[in-house]
């Protein structure tokens, strides 16, 4: 991409080329304004793609194998550890890291903090993709994934926490698709659809908060079914849902910091000036929110231990491991954030954010996997299970990158203002016509 830009290449950030005023075709939009050949050349040139290719070469056949040969081909088929890495990491860690959507949605739309706008869409996208891939991990893990809609249509178990999770994740996924779709509508050029989404934004956001509160908490509450299995230091009948919900707040915020850092570094060409100039300031602001979340989280974790009088466990080996998680995943980030906010150092805040993300992932792995069955034995996941988890994560990265390269997430779509309200209907009509048209000849007209 850098080479492309160095060769006077254009970046697609509006419906029209700036030079001659001719509109981009859909194909050109998809190829980022390059020819197919240029696109392939730049893709092959990128060493990261080679790493991805290697992961896919090994991982994709393994994923196919899981469906042909069954779960016992890729996991240890443990009856004591029914949930392995796919859920331990894929579901329980991905979901809190995706809390960013509702956090930033709330901040901007509900609290009216429009200064967070430049990063709101990234947060929404991060939420959407995180949930989407949590569901993909789930599909790989479920014994009969084709029955996934059963709790919605075939048979209801409304007393089950998982029933709530299923409904909420499904509903929230649709809410997030709607939230993110406005960037897609800008990109593809359907202003009426975008306008509709805007009108229901507050409604979407509020339902997003409700759904998120409940299912982030519900993921924690799932473990309250296993009081004797999760180690007491990671378990609390009364507060488990609060632990998961509260820790999702810094997790989501820090994930946005982490992703924006990576995006700023690896795809600077795609970020517009507004994003670039505001990022440091926003990072500090997000860090403030995250540190408040972490302090609250630390406090309630401590209350949890006091409430169940589990101090004695701290002196055991498990206690030491718990301290590692708390010190490196919670206390150290709090200290770093405090320092970073005081000195207005965005880069330090980023360090804290990466640590927090790692800390939350560790917490979920500890709850779901590492300390699970602490009185029985510890199971090390099958190598195929590890590779499949890694492969799905790589698909997540590729999808993330694909969207960030194209949709107006890190930049603002230009030319929007030329669409005057009176002509919206006309624009929709003309666009409907274009939908069925063959790709190469499709053009997008704005009402100029």
């Amino acid at each position: 991409m850098k080479t492309h830009l160095a060769n006077q290449g254009k970046v697609v950030d509006s419906h029209k080329r700036s030079a001659d005023g001719a509109p981009w075709t859909l194909k050109e939009k998809l190829l980022l304004g390059m020819t197919m050949q240029q696109y392939i050349v730049q893709a092959v040139r990128n060493p990261f793609n080679w790493i991805l290719a290697l992961i896919f070469a090994v991982g994709l056949p393994l994923i196919a194998g899981r469906f042909f040969f069954g779960l016992n081909w890729v996991t240890h088929s443990s009856n004591d550890y029914p949930w392995g890495l796919f859920l331990g990491f894929g579901l329980f860690a991905m979901v809190p890291l995706s809390a960013s959507g509702f956090m930033l949605g709330t901040t901007v739309e509900i609290f009216g903090r429009h200064d967070f706008r430049p990063i709101e869409r990234l947060a929404l996208l991060n939420g959407l993709l995180g949930y989407l891939f949590a569901v993909i991990y789930l599909l790989v893990d479920l014994g009969q994934p084709w029955r996934l809609p059963y709790p919605m249509v075939v048979s209801f178990g409304p007393a089950a926490v998982l029933f709530l999770v299923a409904w909420h994740v499904a509903t929230y996924l649709s809410v997030q698709v709607a939230e993110v779709s406005s960037s897609f509508f800008e990109w593809i050029g359907w202003p009426a659809a975008k306008k509709f989404i805007r009108e229901i934004t507050v409604g979407l956001t509020v339902s997003g908060i409700i759904l998120s509160t409940l299912h982030q908490g519900a993921l924690g509450a799932l473990f309250t079914y296993a009081p004797g299995k999760v180690h007491p230091l990671w378990y609390s009948a009364s507060f488990q849902w609060l632990f998961f919900f509260v820790s999702a707040i810094p997790a989501g915020l820090c994930m946005v910091i982490a992703v924006s850092t990576i995006a700023r570094k690896t795809m600077a060409w795609r970020c517009d000036e507004e994003f670039k100039t505001n990022l440091d300031k926003l990072t500090i602001s997000l860090a403030k929110g995250a540190s408040m979340g972490l302090v609250t989280y630390f406090t309630i974790k401590t209350i949890g231990i006091a409430h169940d009088n589990e101090w004695g466990y701290l002196a055991t080996g498990w206690g030491a491991w718990y301290m590692v998680e708390m010190v490196f995943g919670v206390l150290l980030p709090i200290a770093i954030f405090a320092w970073a906010i005081r000195n207005r150092s965005a880069s330090l805040a980023r360090v804290g954010a990466f640590l927090t993300v790692a800390g939350i992932v560790l917490n979920r792995l500890n709850t779901a996997l590492i300390t699970f069955n602490w009185r029985l034995y510890q199971e090390i996941p099958h190598w195929r299970e590890v590779i499949i988890s890694l492969t799905i994560f790589a698909i997540y990265i590729v999808t993330y990158r694909f969207i960030l390269y194209r949709l107006p997430i890190l930049f603002e779509w230009k030319e929007e203002k030329v669409l005057v309200p009176e002509t919206v209907a006309a624009a929709v009509r003309s666009n409907e016509k274009y939908q069925g048209a063959p790709e190469p000849v499709a053009t997008y007209r704005t009402t100029d």
Binding site: W83, G112, H114, H168, T171, I210, Y225, P227, A237
Partner: protein
């Protein structure tokens, strides 16, 4: 561009909340305590009588058409097998019941413990299942419908006795495998399960649960020297249909004695109780925040391009 009216905005909010509420209507009431069916049957397992012949394992295998075992049921060397850091054998897709041998300190003879589904009064597997695949029948059996199971394996997480197993080996139709009290073939016809019937020592006594409790306490009273003064399963996790008497401390023969007497679902109640609260409070709370945090102008022109806000902010 037409702005969003307040009414419209509130409608959006309520529709969102309403959709959520519909899907959850019974959550809050699902945790009421169930004492078990009054005429529930049960089995009293007297471990003092067990000689470890494994006939029950063989009978179960035949009754439930399970796959051939790796070793003969005669093979006593199986008692020496341990897995993962000293774990004894457990139930799996090929065995709904297993007998394990323990040698507690101070007892002359080994103690054998039969493991199978305990058929809880308020089963954790049942309450954790999001497609309601489990049923507690009036006879006391906890049975399972493989045709709607999605395979999330939450029941295996929830079961405090680690009983349900999964047929991981099947790629196309993996299901939960566990003891069903021989419900289909025997219990519902008024017959005892196959393991009970074959046992040469009558380790297992089949009958109405409430009468078995009386009988168990009678045995303890008559022979205090033979039994630990506790009926395991009378109260554990809300009571189970299968209950145990033991000649040695329960914790020394593989039982989890740290269990609460409340059913597992009680642990989840705290969360389930918050669900309707969040549903009721959040919409109003956050809509209120929104109204407080934004100026009138912001609300009326919410759909507008945010550039406008920035322009205003710059001006002000």
């Amino acid at each position: 561009m037409s702005g969003i009216s307040r009414r419209k905005f509130l409608t959006c909010t309520l529709v969102g909340a309403g959709a959520t509420a519909l899907s959850l209507k019974t959550d809050a009431f699902a945790s009421a305590k169930l004492e078990g069916y009054p005429d529930s049957m049960g089995v009293l397992v007297d471990l003092g009588r067990c000689v470890g012949c494994r006939s029950c394992e063989a009978a179960c295998n035949r009754e439930q058409n399970l796959p051939a075992p790796a070793q003969s049921f005669e093979d006593q060397s199986i008692f020496d097998q341990t897995f993962h850091n000293g774990q004894k054998r457990r139930t799996d897709e090929n065995a709904y019941t297993v007998v394990n041998r323990y040698e507690p300190e101070g007892t002359e003879n080994p103690v054998y413990r039969k493991v199978q589904c305990n058929h809880c009064n308020e089963p954790a597997c049942l309450t954790s299942c999001f497609v309601n695949a489990y049923t507690k029948t009036s006879e006391g059996a906890v049975i399972y419908n493989p045709n709607i199971c999605v395979g999330c394996r939450n029941c295996m997480i929830a079961c405090p006795f680690n009983v349900p197993a999964y047929s991981y080996s099947s790629a196309t139709n993996p299901i939960i495998k566990k003891c069903i009290f021989c419900y289909d073939t025997r219990l519902k016809n008024g017959q005892p399960p196959a393991c009970v019937e074959i046992c040469p020592q009558q380790v297992m006594t089949f009958g109405h649960r409430k009468e078995l409790i009386e009988i168990a306490h009678e045995r303890i009273k008559t022979h205090p020297d033979r039994y630990i003064d506790h009926l395991y399963g009378e109260d554990e996790v809300g009571g189970t249909s299968w209950m145990y008497l033991a000649p040695a401390p329960f914790e020394e023969i593989g039982f989890d004695t740290t269990m609460n007497n409340e059913p597992i679902i009680s642990n989840v109640k705290d969360f389930l109780g918050t669900v309707p609260m969040v549903l009721a409070i959040w919409p109003a709370l956050f809509t209120g925040f929104h109204l407080l945090a934004t100026r009138k102008h912001d609300i009326e022109h919410h759909g507008d391009d945010h550039q406008k806000h920035k322009d205003e902010e710059k001006k002000s």
